[in-house]
Symmetry: C2
Subunit: 234 residues, 2 copies
Amino acid sequence: MFRSEFPIFYVTVDVVLLAVREGQLVVLVVRRGEEPYAGAWALPGGFVGDGEELVDAARRELVEETGIVGDGLALEQLKTFGAPDRDRRPHRVVSVAHLGVTPYAETATAGTDAQDARWVPVDEVTGGLAFDHDAILDEARARAASKLEYTRLAASFLPPEFTIAQLRGVYEAVWGLRIDPGNFQRKLRASAGFLESTGDSVKPASGRGRPAEVFRALGEPFEALGAPIFRSAM
Amino acid sequence: MFRSEFPIFYVTVDVVLLAVREGQLVVLVVRRGEEPYAGAWALPGGFVGDGEELVDAARRELVEETGIVGDGLALEQLKTFGAPDRDRRPHRVVSVAHLGVTPYAETATAGTDAQDARWVPVDEVTGGLAFDHDAILDEARARAASKLEYTRLAASFLPPEFTIAQLRGVYEAVWGLRIDPGNFQRKLRASAGFLESTGDSVKPASGRGRPAEVFRALGEPFEALGAPIFRSAM
DNA sequence: TTGCTTCTTGTCAGGCCGACAACTACGGTC
DNA sequence: GACCGTAGTTGTCGGCCTGACAAGAAGCAA
């Protein structure tokens, strides 16, 4: 029933955890402590445990390697990378990559398996990661940009309560373009089932200017939006 | 370096091959010849070979089990299913599901591993497949519907040359709704970089009515369209 | 020729979008 | 306190796309 002719695999999970820091899209990377690629930067990840769900493994590795707990963290499977030569080690290793989004926080600390963990602007990670992690990052970035159009994922980049201007900042950072504040405001307020006003208002981030109304996001991060929000030429 | 504590996996590929037959969305299923689920219907698929790319394994299994050759066949990774209990056998089996689209043809024949292969309307496959293949089919269906909006995938359901009415039939079958012929015509002709006229025209399928202009599709099946084609309320 | 079918083009009202102006509500400065 | 700068919010307007529907074009059948 299990013939020896079927090859044996190891299965890992990798996590592309994205956040927005000062208007820049950043990704969490760890410095590898073990061979192969010891000392190189890589995406957090590791081997899937016995009887463990794939997404649970991703969440666990994130905690172990970076100390980031999955509270308020949106995590979804991205794509599986299984090229025969993607790992130098004797057995074949297939990696199920995950896309994660979280509000930015200075909590990235070294865990057990990794010597160091830090946030890096995705634009500055050009060809520098271990394994095929550059390709995984590219895929994640494209997926995130696309998910912003038709899901509520943008809110996962922010704390539970936020202003429309902050949300606009997320779209601008991920899409890499400037958006008209007025039109964005109108569009988001009209988008049914996405935002809910808390009634509060807060000073703008710069300290100057009119206070902004505070909102909460409705629904689940990866849940589809009634009407998409386009990046066409915004 | 490879510690024995890491669990060992088998990796399989499964293919959800979709087509449109007489206005109905159909999926290719095979009858299993071996345990587990011997005699039950399942998606074509099998174990990934040594040194074999995942998508190549999917294409190979399709040929072996159904005789369908990947000529004019659009194939892309869909999602990986790896729940610990998804396979009854001793070792854990992770399956990398693929979405395939092909013009309908009566070529589904039994291969080596499967006793029988046939096209079944997706609406009639309610809870009847082996393993977690029902969930995989659901995922594929949703993905295909979504891909029709913003890629050129619809053309992969048809032979190289086709009419706009045939293309409309694809959208109607996959989305499960009727589309206004006039508006669809205008929309598709305006959609730059999708269709190219061959200059020919053919009789409509029914034999009656005005002949239709024949088109060819430009670009790759999973390549993004300049402007999306919405299913909102068409 | 007439009728029927299907593809194709036309019309038109309504809605959404992008560009941009105007207004509002603060803090800071003289 | 008057003024100014900034940022959030609302308003305006022309253009484009959409959906509903009508009309024309090109074949087949009786």
